[in-house]
């Protein structure tokens, strides 16, 4: 049995316990409180990425926006009596024309876990890309993100990313994918509006991991 160098009445123990109690009293971040399957990381390294993580919250925000816009519009209509100029903007905000990029879920040969080795060779710095149906997830040493994908021929579009949170029709990063054996190469077709995706995806080569 290993011997313990600390004794119960040790002064160091008293200070240490007081210190740890102070540390552990830090409030738990909201992202760790909410009951969502995919957590939203707060990456100090990539700027402010504190995001609302639950569908309920998103729905509440969207509903609140709708009510505000609709309510203001209604008040203005009542005040000025010119609904023709107000209705379109209210309707446009409440029901935006959001259509995902054309295409469908990733084909079976793209489904799965992909890893892009780091130039340093350090496995900790490797990037991981997980494609599953209509979802993607990217994990790098700096954090991870998730969102939706659509595959249309040789084009794969990443959108609805949790990090940049640009609603459709914006926020679409378009890449061309080429598969050679177990090797997946991604070539950018546009300037990805979610800059954080560019580094792990643009001109990157991923190797399929055995499932």
């Amino acid at each position: 049995m290993p011997e313990d160098p600390l004794r119960e009445n040790d002064e160091l123990l008293r200070v240490a316990r007081s210190y740890f109690t102070s540390l552990a009293s830090a409030p738990v971040p909201r992202s760790l409180e909410s009951h969502t399957l995919l957590p939203t990381p707060s990456r100090r390294t990539s700027g402010a990425r504190r995001a609302v993580t639950s569908a309920l919250a998103f729905a509440a925000v969207a509903a609140a926006l709708f009510l505000i816009v609709f309510g203001v519009g209604h008040v203005l209509v009542q005040r000025h009596g010119t609904p023709a100029t107000l209705q379109p903007s209210a309707r446009a905000t409440a029901t935006p024309a959001v259509s995902p990029p054309p295409g469908g879920p990733v084909p079976a040969r793209l489904n799965g876990n992909w890893v892009s080795p780091a130039p340093t060779g350090n496995p900790d710095d490797a990037a991981h890309l997980i494609l599953q149906g209509a979802k993607f997830e990217i994990q790098t040493s700096g954090g991870f993100s998730f969102g939706m994908v659509a595959v249309n021929g040789n084009e794969i579009d990443f959108f609805n990313g949790d990090v940049c949170r640009i609603p459709l029709p914006g926020g679409v990063g378009r890449y061309q994918w080429t598969l050679s054996g177990n090797s997946l190469h991604l070539t950018p077709l546009n300037i990805d509006p979610c800059g954080g995706r560019t580094r792990p995806l643009a001109n990157a080569t991923y190797i399929k991991q055995a499932s």
């Binding site: 290993p2 011997e3 939203t40 998103f58």
Partner: protein
């Protein structure tokens, strides 16, 4: 409606997901408290817990006792804390301090400030063993299992940590 609301709401949820949510997600505050005491950094601790959740989800099918995932999660979390600290150390060694926050997470005063400065100078493994043993109540054998080392190595880490803390606290 925001598109991500639709995404989350329509995402098919099977039994594994429900079981994972029930068993693992409530552990997050405990893991966060654990990670904070090892990393001394609120953001790093949060990230370590997020990484833990990701790793846990990926390995969920292989967990031995899905009803008691605590010890398994603790080990994953400790590993992620160590990994993240190694990454910070690499950045510091390379002189790239842009991503490293060199300040304590809480404004300490007096002897707690002295202790924080001394604690910060320990290696991450020394910090982990010290925090796990002193604050979280793990025995040295359990600490060894969590860190994936021998009990003698854990004792050595603790002994060196205690010696360094005493030295620094006296000199403070």
């Amino acid at each position: 409606m925001h598109q991500e609301a639709i995404v989350v709401a329509t995402y098919p949820r099977d039994d594994a997901e429900h079981a994972f949510e029930r068993a693992v997600l409530p552990e997050r505050p405990r893991l966060y408290a654990l990670a904070v005491t090892i990393t001394r950094d609120l953001a790093e601790a949060e990230d370590a817990v997020q990484d833990t959740m990701l790793s846990a989800w990926r390995s969920w099918a292989k967990v031995r006792d899905p009803n008691r995932p605590g010890p398994w999660l603790t080990r994953i979390c400790v590993n992620h804390c160590l990994q993240r600290q190694r990454r910070i150390n690499r950045l510091l060694r390379s002189g790239d301090t842009r991503e490293v926050l060199l300040r304590p997470p809480i404004e300490f005063e007096g002897e707690l400030l002295d202790f924080d400065r001394a604690f910060a100078q320990l290696s991450v493994r020394q910090r982990a063993v010290f925090a796990l043993h002193v604050h979280h109540g793990y025995t040295l054998n359990e600490c060894a299992r969590l860190l994936g080392c021998r009990p003698g190595t854990a004792r050595s880490h603790l002994g060196r940590a205690v010696a360094a803390l005493r030295r620094e606290m006296i000199n403070a």
